[in-house]
Symmetry: C2
Subunit: 209 residues, 2 copies
């Protein structure tokens, strides 16, 4: 079963000189339940080498490793899941090339995209951007109403993403999502473990856990 | 059998406003025997969509389509081959994930890299840069002596690459290579068909064909 409560999407540009694996380890201790390794600048070899290291770390915490966009990297490191956006490979093509046990996540901004992704074999959805975000400055905003409609329409679990932090997560959580995905709320935090712990406690409170 | 005589590696930055498929079609009419689609800036979806179109075109000329670096794109479009460099996925990892019928090419600069690539399952090698080139300004130069040693050491076919044009291809051809790979000599030519034809005639003359 997917535990999508606190889904960390990585971005090494937030490290400000700190060691990547040290920050991830802190985030995992704080209660992250999924990690998605997102590398838009790395060479394939760098991405592969990094994914091997992050997989070892996340698995040592019992947390699955997902790969952003790159099916080849996901296959090469036997990742637990692949997350693709609307400018990545078509979901149905990715699903056909993935081992059945590997999970597929898809980004969706609308009910139509969500329904299509579920039909194409997605195991979960990332819906956003919920709030303005510096990570993807071109990300279209998704209203709380649209998020609620998506949640009511598809059966697969959903995380909200985009500018979410401890102060504003109540909005998506009240729409019924299964968790939230964050980048800077953990990656940029001076204390990533404390940041993750605070997020996780608030999410668990909303879920009644 | 691989016909590596005239191997076109694409670079859309050379188009100067011309249509990509029109230039490729001209190059194919001129006698290109292999095409490698190389896209370092495109999104995965753009790369996929383009690869579908280029495959249809190259197959209509009976010419195989290879993909640079991205195993996922090669798998998704059922390309004829995948070419990887030393900063891409490890060759042995790529080979393990590829269907047996899909060919694997590997870049090599030294005898050691060539031997390792052959051992890892490469079906052919690209050796270079033979001459200074603007396409990969960081590419290390490979001497004619090293190229000759590589050719004498491995059994798989070899193309020379890097700054090769109609005026200088005699040097690598005399080292015994099975063909040459070019980028700008065709992509930047005012008449890509004539450029390809001239290259192909000179290569065939060296090979005694």
């Amino acid at each position: 079963m997917l535990d999508m409560r606190l889904y960390l999407v990585t971005d090494r540009s937030h490290l400000a000189g700190r060691d990547f694996l040290t920050v991830l380890d802190a985030a995992l201790r704080g209660g992250v339940t999924m990690i998605q390794l997102r590398e838009k600048e790395a060479s394939s070899r760098e991405f592969f080498d990094l994914a091997i290291q992050v997989r070892e770390l996340s698995h040592s915490h019992g947390v699955p490793l997902w790969i952003n966009d790159r099916l080849d990297i996901a296959l090469a490191v036997e990742a637990d899941g692949l997350h693709i956006g609307q400018s990545d490979l078509p979901a149905a093509v990715a699903r056909r090339l993935m081992p059945p046990a590997m999970k597929l996540g898809v980004s969706a901004q609308t009910v139509e995209q969500a329904v299509q992704a579920e039909r194409d074999g997605a195991d979960c959805l990332g819906v956003g951007a919920m709030f303005p975000t510096g990570t993807k400055s071109d990300a279209k905003p998704v209203s709380a109403d649209e998020l609620r409609r998506i949640k009511q329409t598809v059966r697969i679990p959903i995380v909200a993403i985009g500018g979410i932090n401890a102060s504003n997560l109540a909005l998506p959580m009240r729409c019924g999502v299964d968790g939230v995905a964050v980048v800077s709320a953990i990656m940029s935090a001076p204390d990533p473990e404390a940041a993750a712990r605070e997020l996780r406690e608030k999410i668990d409170a909303h879920l009644g856990k």
